[in-house]
Amino acid sequence: MVVVAQEQQATWIRNFNPLVPTSARWPTSAGVYEPLYIFNEATGEWVPWLATDSSWSEDATELRFEIRQGVRWSDGQPFTAEDVAFTFNMMKEVPGADLGGVWGFLESVVAGETQVTFTFQRPYVSGLQAISQQAILPEHIWSSIESPLLEQNPDPVGTGPFTEVSTFRGQVFQLDKNPYYWQELEVEALRFPALSSNDQASIALIRGELDWAGIFVPAVERTYLARDENYQAWFPTQGGTIFLYANTQVEPLDNPKVREALSLAIDRQRLVEVAMYNYTTPSRPTALSDGYSDWEDSSLKGWTDFDAQRAGELLDQAGLKKGKDGMRTLPDGSELTLSITSPAGWSDWVRAVQVIAGDLRNIGLDVQVKGYDFSAWYERVGRGDFELSLGWSEQGPSPVPMYKALMDPSAVVKVGEPSFRNWHRYGSEKAAPLFAAFDATPDPLEQARIVNALQQIFVDEVPAIPLFPAPAWGEANHTHITGFPSAQDPYAPLSPNAVPACLLVMTRLEAK
């Protein structure tokens, strides 16, 4: 039995509906149910799961999946290509279930004998990600459910490794293994105690009550690892990047030279030391984390290195001259005050904005730190009602989703209207045709060329300021369970927060 802490909940509510991932219990979409393919962030590979193979048509308008044979649902029924087609066609009828927005580019989904064919409205290579990571539902159960989004699905039937709810109480629940699972399983069950906060989870972790967790632990060497040689922590930085977003609709942040100056003024080495306990490193100029090093154009250099003097020169050139008090003013001589925001409860981010504000004051910018409650903060950045703010980036198997969110003109929304990406309101006319070209070509060489061009545009136009790759929190306790990935054996991310890659770990764990 593996004791896991991933969600922070005061009380468990019995919900295993993968169509409403915000309220479904964590193992639902990857654990009870499974996707066709799993993107492994640790190795950068696509792992065939419920599908065994996939192929594109020449013109990238048709994607065909070969369905794995011999897989059974946890009630014993065989899993077929029809189940896959059913899942996607249901998402067409229930738009709220289509979280990846696949019907924005899909034309039809048709099941064959052992194959499923996805036809696209236009060439769209990026669609592979949204399609292949979707949890597949059994047709023989869900076809008779009238409102799929309102279903709590208390006794799920899935193809995943852990499907049998053997205990469910407010404080704890347990999933036993699927009797019909298509792979060998070495652990009997996953168990989930309800831990309401980071503090509670940390205490349980330190006391050895947890086998597997994905939480932020401050000073992990001293507080956790030093207590027991069986304790392991691995915080790889291969996923997304944390950015300083500058609202490009606000003077003087509309000037790319000013944004470049902000970037040069930040001492990232000190930033990761003070705010992130050295769990991560300063960002690369391209904002790409280690997970994307194959895509990276390493000839791009410079603008993310700390150089306060050069930053000052750039600001002088932009007309932001220093006044008598040493603080800079706008070109017309009026006062210049910028605010930098972050959610108030996120202690690592709060420390980060304080360090950044200090660095910017050093080059003569009057920067004030403002913390908001998460929802108020999110509302503000979404509406574009901010000047500077910390924020995350989008992730995907290629760097394109990140760059798209950063500078695709079609993602730009007017200030005042809520937006879930591109908070800084920046669109690059030069990048737009590249995004379209990327989606139209399955050729890896051509894709690499396009991503190289995007990196150049990112560095030239400075849509946002990359700070550091975001660590993926993962802790394990080897006292009772072995087989966790580690820096020495990085077969998958250790963090249970990596969904659906956590399936790769679940199926490899062994009881001692």
């Binding site: 005061a10 289509d98 989004l149 309102l150 309401s196």
Partner: protein
């Protein structure tokens, strides 16, 4: 007796009006707060969500911008059917289901703590006043006032750290051991008691001083009153005078306070539940506020309101029983 019934009826009328006002405010206040619950929900996806899907979800949640009067109408008619709506944070679970278990645990923990604190504090206060200047009277009031002055969460965290984490005498979280299924067996009851001990102890410690001081001070006044002297003159036993003549009268202000304290049980245990991860309504309230879960917030506030009002009604009944003046 008739006068008492009329008085109770008037009080009941007042509570009904208060309840109506509460129901209306309960509808308005969450809607006047800034922020949009849908965006909070979607924020958890950290960008992995398409705008089309967001619109679809908005519709499912009923978060479209209907005019306020229409929202109010549907709120009232649902409420009349006992339907508190679907929780946003735990969508699509009904609010009543989310609330259920939490109400029970909070009622048990905080209700028990308030009751213990009230009984113990009032008794000690009565005794302290009876032996005014005695050892009990010199030591307890300053000591308890000192303890009550600590910020509550600090005391609770200290207790959790020392007795839970370092000494391992008491469990650090939850209402019972995770490996036990709820039942009326001795091991389960034992587990519930050991889990409630630390949280209840800290709640009693900080509130005991208030009850004790209030009781002691009123008691001293009552002990000097004519009817007590008359009782002494008649040669009644000191015990009878203490209980029936002095304490009964001195208890009245404390009983009124008890009604208030009992009413606030459902909300007041928030810090305790956060520190000890106790699965009650306080933790739910925190989740609801953080997630801007309007339906859950409304359900909680409604439960708290009705708890305060019914506790006060009960206190009125007790007052009638204790105080003959209300019966004339």
């Amino acid at each position: 007796m008739k006068a008492a019934a009329g008085w109770l009826a008037r009080r009941l009328g007042f509570y009904v009006i208060a309840a109506i006002v509460a129901v209306v405010l309960n509808f308005l206040i969450p809607r006047l707060m800034p922020g949009d619950p849908a965006s909070v929900l979607f924020a958890r996806f950290q960008g992995d969500l398409d705008p089309e899907a967001i619109e679809g979800l908005r519709k499912t949640f009923g978060l479209q911008d209907a005019p306020l009067h229409e929202q109010f109408y549907s709120y009232i008619s649902a409420l009349a059917h006992g339907d508190l709506g679907l929780s946003v944070a735990y969508f699509p679970t009904p609010v009543s289901e989310v609330l259920g278990e939490g109400l029970m645990w909070t009622g048990l923990l905080a209700g028990g703590a308030v009751l213990i604190s009230f009984v113990l504090g009032s008794s000690l206060g009565a005794l302290a006043a009876w032996k005014k200047g005695g050892p009990l009277d010199t030591v307890l009031p300053p000591l308890l006032a000192f303890l009550g002055a600590f910020p509550y969460f600090w005391l609770a965290m200290l207790a959790a750290w020392v007795f839970g984490f370092q000494l391992d005498w008491f469990p650090l979280r939850h209402a019972y051991a995770d490996n036990l299924a709820p039942s009326f067996s001795w091991p389960f009851i034992q587990s519930v008691i050991s889990h409630a001990f630390l949280p209840a102890l800290t709640m009693v410690l900080v509130s005991l001083g208030g009850w004790l001081l209030a009781m002691r001070n009123t008691m001293i006044g009552v002990l000097g009153a004519e009817h007590v002297r008359y009782a002494q003159a008649r040669g009644l036993t000191p015990r009878r005078i203490l209980v029936h003549y002095a304490a009964r009268n001195a208890l009245l202000p404390n009983v009124a306070g008890f009604g208030m304290a009992l009413g606030f049980v459902l909300s007041g245990a928030l810090l305790t539940e956060v520190v000890f991860s106790y699965p009650g309504t306080g933790l739910l309230l925190l989740t609801a506020v953080r997630g801007q879960d309007y339906p859950l917030l409304q359900g909680l506030f409604l439960a708290i309101t009705f708890a305060v009002l019914s506790a006060n009604w009960l206190v009125d009944v007790v007052t009638v029983a204790l105080d003959p003046r209300t019966r004339t």
